[in-house]
Symmetry: C2
Subunit: 405 residues, 2 copies
């Protein structure tokens, strides 16, 4: 249980996009005990399971981004909650963002899985929301566009973009503290997933259930599959590159199986600053929502150092995690490569979850897709979205060949 703050009054009005997923669920858990943040509006894609809880948290606006679910449920929801304003489809969600902003909302948490969060993030920047970004695909797909958009706004008026990924949130906290001239490198930790010590020969045989058994983090299925092959960490390196404006040479990854330390800064003198906590999304979600204010009470999952497991750090083995290097290469290549990478990976993970391909085929087909799609160095938002579409269709034709073969 999270103990509520004394004398706390709402200091934030929140829009939660993706309220029914893993991040959304943890966010609702945090909001229950936190009078400093009031939930004004929320979106879900298909699942209505969280609706009673969202109502209890006080939402006045709800978007159902799946048009079919919207059509089917709009009336019955309105009959139960007549004061609720309901929006349908992706366009409806964008309209809700604008309406909530007019009604005083100041913060948006984008916890939509995959590339769908891109337009929501851009709209949020335009509407001058503070953004808690739990959608790394936004920056991987269209990092240059987001960066240019943010840089086009005078620094004083530029909306804050707070990362909700625990590694990036830790880095954000560290980077905010340390004078840039002290810093040599940014280091993200990776758990290494469930197959860190599996004999390489057995990796071909791992099944869906094994892939979804993450040793330290409890997350949604897509990111859990990404984590097992460290493609998630590769995407995170690209995210960090755009988020913190650092070159790929300045960003490093180490495997840290206990997920207790989320990020490190290597200082110029060879010493390290580290940030860590129990592996729970409560920490980065709460930090991003409260920032720059302070959460006064410890999360119930917090544990003191004497209760931590022994902490170790290991190099990333490229033979075990071929997808990680594919991501880094796409990042280094830049331009349209990260967008193609992200889209192809989403399709391949979906195919894996449906049982259409094996775990080790994800990096193989990812590599093949990236070879097949064309490349451009710089494009408009429409270009990146078109690249996303093309990479997906390339994957689908590859998958058909696989089935035939």
């Amino acid at each position: 249980m999270i103990v509520s703050q004394s004398n706390a009054r709402p200091t934030r009005e929140l829009v939660l996009l993706g309220a029914s997923g893993s991040i959304g669920t943890t966010t609702r858990q945090f909001l229950k005990g936190q009078p400093a943040v009031r939930l004004q509006a929320a979106s879900v894609h298909r699942s209505l399971d969280s609706l009673p809880e969202l109502i209890a948290l006080g939402i006045r606006r709800l978007a159902l981004t799946d048009p079919e679910v919207f059509e089917r449920n709009q009336e019955s929801i309105l009959s139960r909650y007549p004061s609720l304003q309901i929006y349908g489809g992706e366009k409806g969600m964008l309209q809700m963002l604008a309406d909530a902003r007019s009604a005083g909302a100041d913060t948006v948490l984008t916890a939509i899985v995959g590339a769908a969060g891109l337009t929501a993030t851009i709209r949020s920047i335009e509407l001058d929301y503070k953004i808690a970004l739990a959608n790394k695909e936004t920056l991987v797909t269209a990092g240059p566009v987001i960066r240019d958009l943010l840089l086009s706004i005078p620094e004083k008026e530029r909306p804050a973009m707070l990362p909700v990924d625990s590694e990036h949130n830790s880095l954000f906290q560290l980077l905010e503290l340390v004078r840039p001239e002290f810093i040599r490198r940014l280091i993200l930790t990776a758990s290494g997933g469930p197959f860190r010590t599996t004999p390489l020969a057995e990796l071909q045989q791992v099944n869906r259930k094994e892939v979804l058994s993450h040793p330290t983090w409890s997350m949604g299925p897509k990111i859990t599959v990404d984590s097992a092959g460290m493609i998630n960490k590769g995407l995170e390196v690209i995210e960090a590159h755009f988020l913190f404006g650092r070159s790929y040479e300045e960003i490093e990854v180490v495997i840290h199986p206990q997920s207790q330390i989320h990020a490190l800064l290597e200082l110029r003198d060879g010493s390290y600053l580290m940030a860590g906590a129990t592996p729970s999304m409560l920490f980065p979600i709460a930090h991003a929502l409260m920032y720059p204010n302070v959460l006064e009470t410890a999360h119930h999952v917090a544990r003191p150092p004497v209760e931590w497991p022994a902490l170790c750090f290991e190099k990333v083995d490229p033979l075990r995690y071929p997808g990680f290097d594919i991501c880094l290469n796409a990042g280094h290549r830049g331009g349209s490569a990260p967008a193609a990478l992200n889209a192809a990976n989403e399709e391949l993970v979906a195919a894996f979850l449906k049982g259409e391909i094996g775990f080790c085929q994800i990096p193989e087909l990812l590599d093949e897709t990236l070879k097949r799609v064309s490349w451009f160095a710089k494009g408009s938002l429409a270009d990146y979205i078109e690249m996303d579409r093309r990479a997906r269709s390339e994957v689908q034709s590859l998958l058909k060949q696989e089935v035939i073969a």
Copy 2:
């Protein structure tokens, strides 16, 4: 080897007090490759071994604090180094501090072992030196006096006091970064010394050689004995109390046998910021001397996380480390208690090193001494120095009884 900085010109003029000890030796090692800090003056107590090196580093002033050694060697040193100005005794050292200041020195590193550093530190504050404090006994003996002296100086003109203890230096770096309202607790780590896993029953039998075999830190004999029984960590808690103006409730100690993480800040949300490096005094010495400037190159002893041993954290067992609790109690009691504690401990460690008492008698006789000396809540510098003297004489009479018994 420490790679020298490009384009570096001296930005500091240093006085090194205690140039022949362990900290002094590491400082000389650092200075050799560091044109940004010029050594202007140095003191040694008895040993002249470091003299050629000090001359090579460019000192123009030398104090020999042992009057006898001064008398015996003054002439021969002058005949070899006629341009050197030589000072004798403790008074001579204080005169050297003043002369060096007039000649442009701006920083003093007090690496004198034991309570003798007190007057040097006070004189350095009065002379408006930046102080790199490698003498925790100063703050333990007369913390309230030093604190009041510093607070009597307007904040803008107050000299910086940089701790050279690695734990305190790490805390200094962390505390400088983090907004105070985020911080719940300061945590110092302790290696636990060589007897962390020795069966308790065998502790009575440990010998001098075993006590002096520290598992992670290479230090002088006095502090190594202190570390074996965690009396050093108890003194460090008192040092941290005065240095950072924090209550004892806000300062915690955890055992961390690998000495890789030196200090942690527990934040209000239950997450942690940590600072660490290879256990080498090069890091805190260089940081304290360079501050607020940046050392641009990594120390040769620096190691990346993948080369660190597995890191663990354990509670302090009061049965194994009775001296630690004695220190905390003296800290809580305040007033003259820490001064008595520190002086009695110095005498007892000296007696142990001479083979007069066993290792486990140190905390026993420390406790007994603290019970015997009178106590005052607040005193002048003279009162604390008198308490130091009284505690030493109390120990000596206890030791005589021990010999008779």
